[in-house]
Amino acid sequence: MSADPIDNAALWLGPKAGLQQVIDALRRTGYTIVGPMVDQAAIVYGEIGGIEQLPRGWTDRQAPGQYRIEQTGRDTYFDYVVGPHSWKKYLFPPRLAVAAVVPLQAGWQFERPRDDPPTYAFLGVRACEIAAIRVQDRVFLEGGYVDAAYQRRRKPAFILTVNCTLAGTNCFCASMNTGPRCTEGFDLALTELENGFVIEIGSERGRSTMADCDVRPATEAERSAGVAARQRATDQQSKRMNTDGLPQLLMANLQHPRWKDVGERCLSCTNCTMVCPTCFCSSVEEVPDLNTGRIERQRQWDSCFHEEFSSLNGRPVRNEIAARYRQWLTHKLSTWHEQFGTSGCVGCGRCITWCPVGIDITEEVAALREPAL
């Protein structure tokens, strides 16, 4: 990433409780605010009405296969990286009716189910998550067929990003060129400092939102402090993935012994695909209403780690776990480029954290780079 420029037009919002004004301004405009909160010992995303719901004074500690939240004693709202949730669950809901059928006297009537999602404002989006949303934009909006449900949610969504001021052990966004600084694709970008927020405006609706809040132009000292805070997230990041020539390298190594090796460690539990902010596979289930006979066709997240995912004439094409891991990794890092013109990985590290056996995608890639013996 290029050096962090100082945004001379940045605003200052302080003290930090003033963030409530931003939330209120967004709510007045009609947005449903979704942001971070502590729930079930994790920092997750949910609907929020006030800043008291934010994970104030909490941070997360991550390692391969490990996630813990801890209290820091500091007065910070965004002193963590990313948890098990991603904004995918709002833009591409885990379960959604895509079609419906009503029985008639003779035959069926095919219907399009109602879909009136709220207009979301996402509060606390990280740079890697903006990158992930843009990856899914390519899948659902720019891949030839437009997914109407995604489009309905994505188009009006307000994105309030918060720059990372620390890096987690599993973060490798810098090497994926997706962070840690938010550079585009947001309406407002916050950088949290000790006594307030430096705010950058990314869109006209971002500007009009701030017009209702008690803000003033940030001083040079405040802006510089923002740069320094963001720099910490870069400096702390030690994990990286070497993506040089990776798409070709992976497809040239489909018989590499490492696939078998990782296939013996992988439990095929699907966690990595569920927490991944770009994984988009789904399947459709028939859900009948036994009273009316109406059948809803519900799309739900699916995973290439399920044995039956590739089922063909009753038998899975990818019957071994090694083949399924190979599909996931080569899709994410290689064939995704051919399909959508981008990597499917943004370096958020979720798949490493939430893998019950701590498989680290960056380590697997490094091993696959080693010539097979």
Binding site: V101, G107, C281, I295, D302
Partner: protein, 280 residues
Amino acid sequence: MKPAVSAWETHAMRIVGIRPEIDGVATYDLAFTEQAGGDAYQFRPGQFNMLYLPGVGESAISLCGDCRAPDVWKHTVRVAGRVTQTLAGMPLGSQLGVRGPFGTGWPIDQWQGMDVVLVAGGIGLPPLRPAIYELLQRRDEFGCLTLIYGARGPRSLLYTAEFPTWQSQGLSVLTIVDRASAGWTGNQGVVTSLLERLELPNPATTAVAVCGPEIMIRYTALAAAKRGIVSERVWVSLERNMQCAVGLCGHCQLGPEFICRDGPVLRYDRVRHLLSVEAL
């Protein structure tokens, strides 16, 4: 009926004809319940529909009729799972849902002026039948036309009643079976053996179209290459787990290809390296 608006837009169709073909295989003639649907519907040889039985699910089935006959849409279906099993029990007049057509078709226009060899194995003939109709409809535009058709046994051969018509219209039909039974005086073996000894006057301007089990596809392409037909002139119809049919659900991926959207018909040089990797 372009699926670009909504991939899940489903149209009601009625079963207006059922023709048992061979054991476990029948051809269903479907007609739109609304005239408007039928008027708007067009398909290219090689494309498929998603047949939907409410409460049961969907199955990807190739269109196997004449793309110029706009009244009924034919689907030859083998009982292979829950959907096709349920369909097999449905009487004439039943209604079902259809989404489609989806996928790529046989590049018939590219074959103009060329000799064309169609190679089918078992239930791989139905996706080729619309191409046969089209080639014969435009017979003058092509050189020698040959169908090599292999099946497990003589009683597994589909559409045999049509073979004489096809022959008379200028398609040379060669059949072969894995296991002969009493009374079979034809060829016995695999389809590649027929391709190996087929008279090919113009290998440099011969196109091959293959549909059948994947192993058969690979060996057919290999045999074609040995006869001087390069993989750039071999087209194959592939099968994977197709669900959404528009490249969004992920199930049918083969390397970078979404078989439902980029296929099912693909030029062989595009997928050869992928088919040679087991369980990809």
